[in-house]
Amino acid sequence: MSINARSPRNELFQELKPRCVELSQLALRDDGSSGSNKALIQSASQLLAILQHKCRGLDQKLADYVFFPISQILKRKQTYTDRLSELSIKSLRILLEYGWKDGIALELAKQLLMLLTFVVGGVPGKESAPTPEELLVEAYGALAALFRDLAGTPGGAASVVDAGTIPALGHCLAVVLEGATDGPAAETQLEALITLEAIWSCIKDVQALSTFLPGTVSALTKCLMPSTGQRRSRKVIIKALNIFRYVLVSLLGDIKTRNIRNQKPSASNKGATEPQALTTSWLKATSGQIRLALSNVIRLRTHESAEARKALNRLCITLLDECHDTLAESSAMLVETCIMLTGIDDDEDLVDRATSLTDLSSIYPDLVDLIKNSVYNWVTSLPRIMQSNDEAGKLSALENLSKGSLLLQGLNLESPLLHDALCDSLRDSVSVTLDTLPTRKPVQDSEFDLNSQAALTLATENASTTRFKPVLMGKESQKETLQQFASLIDNLGSRESQMRMASEMLEYARSASGPTLLASFWLSSRILRSATSKNRDLDEFFESSLTLSDEQDVAGQELFSYSLSLLGKDNEASPDWRMQTIALEVIADTAQHLKQDFRAELVDTLYPVAKLLGSSNSSLREHAITCLNIVSKACGYANASELIVENADYMVNAISLSLDTFDISPQAPQVLVMMIRLVGPSLLLYLDDVVRSIFAALDNFHGYHRLVEALFTVLGEIVLVGSDSKQLRITNDVSIAHRKTKLHHSSMIDIASLIAAKSSENEETSYPPEKAPHTPWKSADELLDEREVPPPEGGDDETTSMEIAKAPPTKTYVMLQSIARLSQHYLTHASPILRVKLLGLVSISSTALYKDEDSFLPLVNDIWPVVIRRLYDEESFVAIAAANAVAAICQSAGDFLSTRISAEWVELMKLSSQSKARFAAEKKGKGGRGVYSQASQVWEAVIGLLIAIVGNVRIDDGMFDEVLELLEDLLWQREKLRDALETVNSDAVWLVLQWMGKNKRFDQPVAEGFTFARMDMAVLV
């Protein structure tokens, strides 16, 4: 020991000495008064301060020296609950931790052991107030330091377990264990645990340890058992787990128990005389007990703290490793826990990572079986769990399974048996989660209303959703379960096994029915999707033969074609709409996978998807829209409308073919209407055969109102779009105006200009004299040539010349015409809505078609009788539509109708006066609805009709008068009406107005020598 070292020690001694002396004097003089107590506390705290400050300089001798006054204080104490004892225990702890760390006198140690035990646990047999927490912490710390010192002292470990001390030790241990489990605060518990650790590491004697084992284990288990009453702090749990691990390994490690296990039963009998506790039977009983304890402890695997779970994982791994043989009974349990906790230390660096189950299983082959077993158990129990309502349970089950299968994959342990079991289990799990389908109402054709469906909304609103709403497990609460399921699917094993599973599922789906069909189809699609997304990077860099991407493509194709066949089926044919939604998802996936190449697939795909836009099921519609959005994005179209516009030809083809086979689903007309709206008139050119098919369908299904209506909606749309298109191309541009014009009265100016024109004409016609022609106007050769030109040969040339004379009507024209003509057969249809629709169609088409009179007038001739009858329809809104239609025909056909109108005149007038009367009655009655009342609307329509007739059709004077009479009271307020009537006979109109006194007043002219009759007088006469 050098001078340098000695001198600080001396310094410290010099410093400590006065305090110690002072303290011991005070202690000796202590009379229990508060004054001396105060002085003691002060002195002790001064000592403590020095100790705390200079603790590193302490050695055994100094410690002994300092201990003396402290022991004085402690000796006098009956209870250790006050400030003074706390100070002394603190000082003691410092002494133990630093002073006696290289060795402690064994006797002293024994005394201290007892003392500290009393401090902590109280004197046995004496009721005392509970020790304050701070004191407890210090005392535990001191105890722990004591045992560490003992462990460092030669012979210390042995002295602890000698016959004299062992009761004290036992008591101490009991106290500590009690503190660990029932300590008032987390801190004390933690300290107690540290103390426990120190005790265990101090005791080397196996006998003693084995005696203490049951108590320790049970206390630790109690500490680790998750209980509702008491929540242990995270630190305590981690510490306890670590100690538990240490305890078990130290006593039951394979190396320790090797001898015992190797003992022959006879050998143990022979040695029975000796106090040999460690026998095979003991081991057996102990490991059984431990198993029980472990089964409680591993419940911590669901602990929310990752640290705790990590500690548990270490415990399990260590036990599996070190106590592999001893605790073989519990290894299944441990393995299970380990699998569940796989990946818990993934965030740590590779170097820091402890042994993993994977590593262990390569050492102990029996673990492999255990792993397999537990995964298999999970697999088989999955459907049962999925059936329950416990979402958390499902979550963890799925998570475990996915970890398990990942582990198996890592270990190359995929067995066909497991694979099959997994297949079945997954399928069953999914199918149990399927809700039983709500019984669907039998599909009535009232379910679809053409105008409210998504087919038409696509045309207008630009829905841009590109994510499918989950169909399976779609509830909010199942969201996480679904996610977990997805990750399970992701972890289903290598790509190869995923592929295999996907195709097996598909194969199963082909022959299955009901929920399992749905489940396997869904799984197949999911698995494939996961495989695709997982291996995308791989495929980019490696040859296809290496990455199995071929197989994947083949499987994908199979799934795709199966989905397509599903969609191709009639809506009613497939039992579950969810199948179709999954099929849509598959198609969207395929599109995303193929990108632009998918355009070629659109031939077969687009219509089946678009068809679903007209489905009566809203989620199916949403899915279809989403699918279209995804597909259009994948194929490089701006939006779904563009997709449809660009590929209208495919759709037309599909619709036409389906109409041809009389596959009359309500969707086809809807999709057609949508397309016509989106694409516009240019589509009509390709629709002629579709229109023909619609006609055929109408012929065959004329009894089905809704269908007929749907089909006529299409026709109406065609007419609407076609009527304002260029493609109508009416060739003769003669504007045909049927509107009557006023008779032109020739005035004097006209006559004058006429005469002037005549005279100028005379001047022009005086031709200058002309020379006689010297040559013939045409040469003889030319004439001969002309003769020789053969007459146009064959019928063909004649037809061509005819064609030149009159171009055939365009396709669109013919189409519109035939639609209008067809409508006559359905105007008597029982459905009033259809009748209205048709009348609207007639009026639109007649305004569109009238320019080509040669074909239009025959059409009018055809449809007239039916249309005019509709005026007397009992449904007033049909009658209104009919009036409008007739008015439109009048405007387009004009005088052509004059005989037809006059034939109808009597009836027409009757109708008009009736409606007028009804209107008047309605007006008079109370609570009338004004212009919105039916009577008023009918009347308005009739007025419009009469205006159209008078304005465009030639009628005789008697009829005109009747109209005038009927409408006289409206004349003065309706400009249009007056115009129309005045055009025909303005005098009559004037007269009527005059009669009613609605004309402007004429001032009676004044002239000398004349008396004018008064105007109204004259009229009256």
Partner: protein, 388 residues
């Protein structure tokens, strides 16, 4: 045996007027159609869309076919026979707006290689035969069309020179009227140039060139003008159809030694179909089935051997004018299979493996190998049938 009625696989819409010619080109990947207004449309069978549209003639198209891989021959009523050059790469630059949609600006036409001024008084389409070339590289072709002056004789032109090299005189034994249908080939056995002709009178004749033109065979099974004829791929017999209801099978005798003069002989088989007016007739290149396009809007498929009606294809509401079979490569592939050794097999396996790689290729393969039957009709539509 009650199968549901066959439905077409696809309808190609877009011609504005009736279709007079259909033919599969570019090893079944393209379909060429020509209509009465002179429009030619080349359709891709993979995407079922036009890849090239142009107006080849001012008059109706009478016939259209391919010459080699990138040349197309069209024959129009405007007295022209034009050879166009349109390789697959050039297709991208062509307009694809269909004839129904009349576009504002004039269309781009493919490169014209040759124009022959020919007679188109009658509705007879040309016939073509590859000249057995002596040196590779130069492609020579013989074209048979009715004679410019008299419609009863046949002119044979040589391409690329554009010269008329033969004129076959009208048969002295019968008064045939105009020639309505032609076929031209080198007989496989004698390698004599052989011409089959169908006449307005319903006669048909086989002529062959040895030192001069001999009529080998004449027959008159039809009471109406012959509308179409096609020859069996083995060149052993041929079929004629006419405006009447008769379908006739005629022999093509190989040798002319025993035939001194043109003899009126009997056809091998005559069947009365009861459907008059069969404008188009084609024999599939495997020689197993033939199809007729009828004015009643139906296409009938017959077995070549027994002349038995196998199928009636009904979709068009108006008369069908043209029919075409996709070429079948069966025999070629079978021939290959026999000579395959293991190494080649390996290569093939590899090829098939790469074949599965892209879906696009797969589709192309599918389009190529499908047994298409294309029918062109008066309504301006072409229906595609996947049959036999």
């Amino acid at each position: 045996m009650a199968l549901p009625p066959a439905t077409p696989a696809y309808i190609l819409r877009g011609h504005g007027s009736q279709i007079h010619a259909t033919t599969f080109v570019r090893s079944n990947r393209r379909l060429m159609t020509g209509d009465a207004d002179g429009w030619i449309v080349i359709w891709s069978l993979i995407i079922k869309r036009p890849v090239a549209v142009w107006r080849a003639h001012q008059g109706s198209i009478l016939g259209a076919s391919a010459w080699g891989s990138d040349k197309f021959i069209t024959h129009g009523k405007d007295n022209k026979l034009i050879v166009w050059k349109l390789s697959e790469e050039d297709e991208a630059s062509m307009s694809i707006v269909l004839p129904v949609d009349t576009p504002p600006e004039p269309r781009k036409e493919p490169w014209i290689l040759h124009i022959l001024e020919v007679n188109t008084m009658n509705f007879c389409s040309f016939a073509q035969a590859d000249l057995p070339s002596n040196d590779e590289g130069s492609e020579e072709l013989l074209i048979a069309v009715p004679n410019t002056m008299s419609s009863e004789t046949v002119d044979i032109f040589h391409l690329p020179s554009g010269k008329r090299i033969h004129t076959i005189p009208a048969s002295p034994t019968f008064k045939g009227g105009m020639i309505m249908a032609l076929s031209l080939f080198f007989h496989p056995l004698t390698s004599h140039l052989t011409v089959l002709a169908g006449y307005e009178s319903g006669h048909t004749s086989v002529s062959c060139l040895t030192t001069s033109w001999h009529a080998l065979y004449t027959a008159n099974p039809h009471s109406q003008p012959i509308l179409s004829l096609d020859v069996d791929p083995g060149k052993q017999f041929y079929f004629t159809s006419s405006a009447d209801a008769v379908l006739a099978k005629h022999p093509i005798s190989a040798s002319n030694e025993n035939v001194i003069g043109p003899v009126e002989s009997m056809p091998l088989k005559v069947i009365k179909t009861k459907h008059s007016g069969q404008q188009g007739l084609k024999v599939r290149n495997d020689g197993k089935v033939l199809a007729t396009a009828g004015w009643d809007g139906r296409v009938r498929v017959y077995g070549v051997k027994g002349m038995k009606e196998l199928a009636v294809l009904k979709w068009h509401k108006e008369g069908c004018y043209a029919v075409a079979f996709a070429d079948m490569d069966v025999e070629v592939e079978e021939g290959k299979d026999e000579g395959v050794d293991s190494q080649e097999e390996k290569g093939k396996a590899l090829a098939s493996r790469t074949g599965t790689m892209t879906v696009k290729e797969e589709r192309e393969q599918k389009a190529k190998s499908t047994h298409w039957l294309a029918v062109g009709s008066k309504d301006g539509k072409v229906s595609l049938w996947d049959i036999y």
